[in-house]
Symmetry: C2
Subunit: 446 residues, 2 copies
């Protein structure tokens, strides 16, 4: 079974590319560390992966639009090289593996393109054009990338199945971490066990740089040092980590107590974040605007923080002030797919909303079936942002800084699931435990 | 404690760089995946790591030769960025961490260089010169890299301590794998457990692309798919894997039976490879030529293969024919340090020896104290090489292909340790078990 349906993906691209001739996508090559012969970790070009499913170096892809033919170009491996890297599959085998119409050797690239003789050859402008610039063709570098980006927004069933698998692998790894006792260990041990678990389940790497932050470290949004001792059982541990599977990403966050139970303050903040997420999951369905979901999460946060006395004033005043953005300073979530922050979050001409928190929102679109989002509300006690609020009179009046002080140790809480928009609601791909009750039960089960 | 002794490393470079003024090394920046915002795994420039010990992105280094001053330039982090990545250490803290004389912000690069006003600014030619080309200085791009390469050959005590730690982490991980039973599992599980183990011990990544090859897969020298089921307990499993620690590499190979015991044939081949390694370890000491060690390993292999009847003829004839190179097709070992294949294996003007096997030797040097080598003999039954020998009359006459057939299933055996040349011999950094007796004992200990 091919990884993805190449014919379908090409058709999807052609919905947004009104052209004749052919389009060309260059796959990534192996990268070598400078001044050495060390191969670096391989990352396939995301657009090549979308169109072909190929996650190996040295391949390129051409689609003959007029004749509806998908063509994969495989790297040429000399007999000498084959001794070192093993005998390679035949072109017929490659054809079967990826479900393309033709496979040729990269050495025949020029001949094949000349035989197609495309009126226009569409290419992606950020990719090297060494392969095509010598061919003296009518080249268009403007339309293809936009078309692929639009196509990538709507996931095909086989892509959703891969994303489900990436999420399953990651959910199981997160569940495993919760079961372990890391008090007396280090953030790096949490990270190590996550990587060991996803690789043991067939993922070849993390989808993105894992964040493991205990206690106050969780208030650094992009904390990736992951090297602090975990000593205090009353600390929370925030783990933002996902597996890459067949080139697609999971992106999941869980936050749990290092010891057996939440502190009162940790539980209160945690429950607000979970309420933010639940409200968004319940409200998500086709034709809802994503920025409205962000504002819904903000509102639930405002209500919760008002109840705790961290914020003061009326709900309307608090919402109008955007003070919540100082405790929830990032966007609610983003498109997820091949890239962890998947492409095309903003349609052409749609600007960012320049207000705290929502200015970082990575998507402003109408939710439509086939879209895949992360839903990742969070609340944090970020020192610098609290000081900024304190020093801004029109914000400071909505904050009780004495109460904030009581919650400072909580650091930060984020809960992140991966969802697919369906015809009438959502499918939640993420199954790792997340209620206070479930987490405390797991923590007490040894 | 700084990672390395910056003043000493600069002094080492100046032994080979007869110049006045200053030298400049640019550290690597974070790389972003094309058409996305995903940060790729960070790899520091190896020469920057040698001179500064810095393994974080965005730093650069200048040494003021006339005034013996080491200067580190730290990336500028804006208050906005600090909310996301956390508050950064002060320049004083960075000075302490890395043991340099001065720390400045990268934004002050031009001012600082102008105040040094170097007669010549030495730089590395493969690095971007955007930072210095505007300064209108007398630039030399030819001498610095050669000087650093020569300096990097001889490891300082603190570098050997780091390499020992990288090797210890890796040896423990290898020992752990031997204890597990992978029959019924997959090569990927061996790989996963290795990565989990080294990360749990404080390594942040593998030093190079891990090879896990069971049975015939081990006959592919650079087999990195690591995705075959391990079903046959009579298969060998070859694991070539090392941890990166503080930017330095371990590079260790162990080969062990998937089940509880070696087959007769596997044991015979394994013992020859161990004999090849033992002979080299015993003979290694200052002033011995490394290519002589390669030929010693070849000779021990020839003796062993003659005894098994795989080869035939006199030892001298067999050695002169280089037929052993068809079963031991790679070099005996290489320099090890920051890079897994560390720099400067060939002094200027020394060519490769164009004969089977030894043509791939990565070092032709006199062994001297402070050098660090891998010693990694191997024997393999590579289909394509055996066929090549069969079809070459002057080689075929030394091979009994019927006997070869009996050993074909063994696939390949490699045993690789990391050694330091000392004043009177070697220090072996690698402690993972490797005798037939020890391996079978471990395999039977559950």
């Amino acid at each position: 079974m091919p990884v993805i349906n190449v014919a379908k993906h090409c058709k999807n691209v052609l919905k947004y590319l009104n052209g004749t001739g052919a389009f060309y996508i260059k796959g990534a090559d192996t990268s070598i560390h400078p001044d050495s012969d060390s191969e670096l970790r391989f990352y396939q070009d995301s657009n090549m992966l979308y169109i072909s499913g190929v996650a190996e170096p040295g391949f390129s892809f051409v689609y003959d639009i007029n004749n509806h033919k998908s063509i994969l170009f495989a790297p040429y491996i000399s007999p000498d090289e084959a001794v070192w890297i093993g005998s390679q599959p035949s072109h017929d085998e490659i054809k079967q593996t990826y479900g393309v119409d033709q496979v040729h050797s990269m050495t025949d690239f020029e001949t094949v393109i000349k035989s197609i003789n495309p009126q226009t050859l569409y290419r992606i402008d950020y990719q090297s054009d060494a392969q095509v610039s010598a061919l003296n063709l009518n080249i268009n570098s403007e339309s293809l990338l936009k078309a692929i980006h639009e196509a990538r927004i709507y996931k095909e069933p086989e892509e959703i199945a891969i994303l489900q698998k990436a999420s399953d692998i990651s959910s199981r790894a997160h569940a495993l971490l919760m079961k372990n006792n890391y008090v007396g260990q280090n953030e790096c041990n949490v990270h190590a066990d996550f990587v060991g678990s996803i690789m043991n389940q067939g993922s070849n790497r993390e989808a993105y740089t894992t964040i493991v932050g205990r206690g106050r470290n969780a208030s650094t949004l992009h904390y990736i040092r992951n090297d602090s001792p975990i000593e205090d059982p009353t600390d929370l541990v925030l783990v933002d980590a996902g597996a890459s599977y067949k080139g697609y990403s999971a992106d999941i966050t869980r936050t749990w107590p290092a010891g057996k139970t939440f502190t009162k303050e940790a539980k209160e903040i945690y429950q607000i974040v979970l309420d933010m997420q639940t409200a968004v999951l319940d409200a998500s369905k086709p034709h809802v605007q994503w920025e409205d979901m962000h504002m819904l999460a903000m509102k639930v946060a405002a209500q919760g923080l008002l109840k705790l006395g961290i914020l003061k004033g009326s709900l309307d005043e608090v919402m109008d002030s955007y003070i919540v953005g100082y405790f929830f300073p990032h966007g609610l979530g983003h498109f997820l797919g091949i890239d962890t922050h998947d492409c095309a979050g903003y349609p052409e001409g749609v600007p960012r909303i320049n207000k705290p928190s929502i200015r970082y929102l990575r998507v402003r679109r109408e939710m439509l079936p086939g879209m895949v989002f992360t839903v990742e509300p969070g609340l944090y006690f970020v020192h610098d942002l609290i000081e900024e609020a304190r020093n801004t009179p029109e914000l400071a009046k909505y904050v009780d800084f004495d109460v904030v002080q009581k919650y400072f140790k909580v650091g930060g809480v984020r809960i992140e699931d991966n969802i697919v928009i369906t015809e009438d609601g959502i499918l939640n791909l993420t199954t790792a435990p997340k209620t206070v009750e479930d987490l405390e039960k797991i923590k007490n089960s040894e």
